[in-house]
Amino acid sequence: MVINNEKSVLLKDILKQEDVYISNNLKSRQEILKFGSQKIFPYVKDFCSQKVLYEKLKEVDKLNLVLENGLFIPHTKFPELENIYSVLIISPNGIKDERAGLDIYLSFLFLSPLKPAFFQTHLNLLSYITRIFKKELIDILRTVSSPLEAYKIITGIEK
């Protein structure tokens, strides 16, 4: 999880095993944001309340995309952060997003430092996420039985 403004980012460095979740209980994009914000909150609790975190994610979400392969990447930035933190939420049955007209199967929620010098790393991460999580991988992850299994698959690909 340690990123010190390195240009390249690996998921194993920013995603912990315990931050991978499988849930079929979430029914909407908003619920993904709420759930994700609750799970990632511990990393920012020193300078931000949960309500503020959720509101910020909601605000930024107006401009977020759901890609056609079912990948959703909600994210926001904080000036207080020095590293990237993330949670991964797998929705095996899919969540219908009315706005995009697409089903969300995988949500990679992350927080990154709000520093101009970090923005290249931020962009690298975004392109890396979309490069890793192709439709084929998402389909596989939808069938896993546990977060651990999902985590092993993801880190295994990175090797």
């Binding site: 995309l65 962009l123 392109s127 890396y128």
Partner: protein
């Protein structure tokens, strides 16, 4: 994923290719330089043996007018007398000025090609008896037949587009220059061998040359008045300068420095070729011989009167006639280019019917305008009966009127647009109260205006035909303008816009990508005609010799699979393409505008960039998203679409006023 993109169109107009200053000089000289072949003879017939002084004086004066065009071009990339006069003095005066200019262009083709025909006729008269052929065809009839053939030939060439003609013009000027050098030095040799007597500076006007002045007792053609009249009879040697303003938009980067080189090249060539060769003709050919034998083929006469063996002189005469054929015929082309340019400007303003600007489907040229010009020129040839002196008399009207308007307009603009940046100013200015009082331009204007008044009185046919034609065209423009205004008021659906720019369909991006062969490629997505700061930045900083500049407009259409993407351009899109073309012309850089239909612009930009192997994407900032979100979306699609064979990274720049963000997608 590929279904996100439908229907790809490449925008083409004849105006997106740019030419070197050599080609620009050649285009102008093919008109301006061609007057060497007939100006001296026409002037001599008008006022006698002082003609070489006046032709030389006109050539020296042309230097000032060429400088005037540098200043006007620095104000208007798409300039010329119509635009300059319109900006300075309004549409009414602009309509008058352009009517006169069109009169000029409509006479350029006929006078040049008839003159070439007369040179050929004179040569055939000498050559054919040598091979036993009896030649009884009238010179004028042959000249007319030749002239019409040439007009038809260049009608076809211009339908195909300017670039082709510019290459030919360079070859013509090179050959003419070669013949000119021989004439020049052989003339010097003749003068050295035979000696010379300077022609008498004595003005003997014919009755025709005096026009109405012969009936005005106080208007005696002596002294200063006589000089002004004689200058007026020589002024037709100035024709072709307006073409410089039309050609400027096509001059490659850096524009003003290249324009200056063009001006210098034109001035030196015409001073030596028209000015000095006419002078040598006067020194070498006895005046009475010139008038009786060579008045309509002066340089042929010079060749035959040089000192040397007859056979060699005959060969030189043949070369002179060949050069006359080439350059005078080239002037016909220049008239097409000039007339087409000015009528396009006028049609853009709604002063001519929009339908006239319809583009040829294959070549992207305004073929209806070109055809109209050809038809009118042929009519002039027929009406003149091949009489070069009649044509010459009428010719000066258009030349002088448009030049006078042009200079006057520039003077106005010094006051009206005093804060407008100008890369160059006509010299001799007085700085007063923040204004640059143009003493130099005022002097030029006064000279032209006085000569114009003199010509009105002395050239009956020119004045009558010129005024009638100008008035007729003015009425046509006014009626058209009113009709076009009505159309706008009634909010009729505009059917004409999709035809202003030519859209050539492409089957596939991968096929299109093969067209981009330069070492580097820059992709410039555009959307808003008022937000092209990034395109301007690319044009300022990129060498288009090594870089393909691809301008991409993504037409967003939802429900793409069911829609019919027909290539219809909406008015706001027309404005976008127009601004792109104007910017490309301003910087003289070649761009390839592409329009394609998609339901996802960011996806399309990345997909396209990869397909053409772009090294850089340069965008303007989006008012909807902001620069960071734009970059994030591009990064996401980059990751999603990146091909394994695409090595390295692509640079992305977001540019807006005084700000630039630059990152890489790896």
């Amino acid at each position: 994923m590929k279904e996100k993109i439908k229907n790809i169109f490449v925008l083409s107009t004849a105006m997106l290719s740019f030419i070197s200053f050599w080609k620009a000089s050649a285009i102008v000289l093919c008109d301006f330089g061609s007057s060497a072949y007939y100006a001296g003879g026409i002037a001599a017939k008008s006022f006698g043996q002082a003609y070489p002084y006046f032709v030389l004086a006109v050539m020296l004066f042309s230097g000032f007018l060429l400088m005037m065009y540098i200043e006007s071009s620095s104000l208007f990339t798409r300039g010329g007398v119509y635009v300059v006069v319109r900006e300075a003095m309004g549409k009414t005066m602009a309509k008058f000025s352009v009517s006169a200019l069109i009169f000029d262009y409509l006479l350029t083709g006929p006078i040049s090609s008839v003159s070439a025909g007369l040179y050929i006729a004179a040569l055939l008269k000498i050559l054919l008896p040598h091979i036993g052929i009896s030649w009884n065809i009238s010179d004028r009839l042959l000249a007319m037949i030749f002239s019409i053939s040439v007009i038809l030939y260049f009608w076809r060439e211009n339908i195909k587009g300017v670039q082709e003609s510019a290459d030919k013009n360079v070859k013509i000027i090179l050959f003419v220059g070669f013949v000119g050098i021989i004439l020049f030095f052989w003339s010097l040799f003749t003068i050295w061998q035979k000696g010379f007597t300077l022609p008498e500076f004595k003005l003997n006007f014919t009755d025709e040359a005096l026009g109405w002045a012969k009936d005005i007792s106080w208007l005696k053609p002596v002294g200063l008045i006589g000089i002004i009249m004689a200058f007026g009879h020589s002024i037709l040697a100035l024709s072709g300068l307006e073409t410089l303003a039309q050609v400027y938009r096509e001059i490659e980067d850096p524009k003003i420095p290249n324009l200056k080189k063009t001006v210098i090249a034109i001035f030196i060539f015409s001073l030596l070729f028209t000015g000095m060769l006419t002078f040598f003709s006067a020194l070498i050919i006895p005046f009475d011989v010139m008038i009786s034998k060579y008045s309509d083929n002066l340089l042929s006469g010079l060749a035959m009167e040089l000192y040397g063996p007859y056979k060699l002189k005959l060969i030189l005469k043949f070369l002179v006639v060949l050069s006359a054929g080439f350059i005078l015929v080239g002037a016909v082309n220049t008239a097409f280019v000039g007339a087409n340019g000015i009528l396009n400007r006028v049609a853009e303003d709604g002063i001519l019917p929009e339908s006239l600007r319809q583009l040829h489907r294959k070549y992207g040229t305004t073929y209806r305008i070109i055809t109209l010009v050809a038809a009118l020129q042929i009519l002039v040839v027929i009406l003149s009966g091949g009489d070069i002196f009649l044509l010459g008399e009428a010719y000066a009207f258009g030349v002088l009127t448009s030049l006078t308007f042009d200079v006057l307009a520039l003077i106005f603009l010094r006051f009206k647009k005093k804060d407008e940046p100008r890369e160059w100013l006509f010299p001799l200015n007085l700085n007063y109260n923040g204004y640059q009082i143009p003493l130099g331009l005022i002097s030029i204007f006064l000279t032209l205006f006085i000569v114009f008044l003199a010509n009105l009185i002395t050239k009956k046919i020119a004045t009558i035909s010129g005024l009638i034609f100008t008035l007729f065209l003015y009425i046509v423009f006014t009626i058209s303008e009113k009709k076009n205004e009505k159309k706008i008021n009634l909010k009729e659906e505009d059917k004409g816009f999709e035809e202003k720019v030519n859209l050539a369909g492409e089957q596939d991006i991968s096929e299109l990508a093969l067209k981009f062969k330069k070492e580097n490629k820059i992709l410039v997505p555009v959307r808003n005609p008022n937000n092209l700061v990034h395109l301007k930045s690319v044009l300022e900083s990129t060498d288009d010799n090594t870089t393909d500049i691809v301008v991409l407009y993504v037409k967003v259409q939802k429900g793409l699979e069911s829609s019919g993407a027909s290539g219809v351009i909406l008015p706001e899109e027309k404005e976008l393409f127009k601004q792109i073309i104007l910017l490309a012309e301003k910087y003289g850089k070649t761009v390839t505008p592409i329009m394609l239909y998609s339901n996802d612009p960011f996806y399309t930009i990345i997909y396209f960039a990869q397909s053409i192997n772009a090294g850089k994407i340069v965008m303007g900032v989006s008012g909807s998203f902001g620069a960071e979100v734009q970059l994030e979306r591009l990064a996401m699609y980059w990751g999603m679409l990146k091909r394994s064979d695409f090595k390295g990274a692509i640079k992305v720049e977001i540019i807006w006023e005084n700000r630039k963000l630059s990152y890489e997608l790896i």
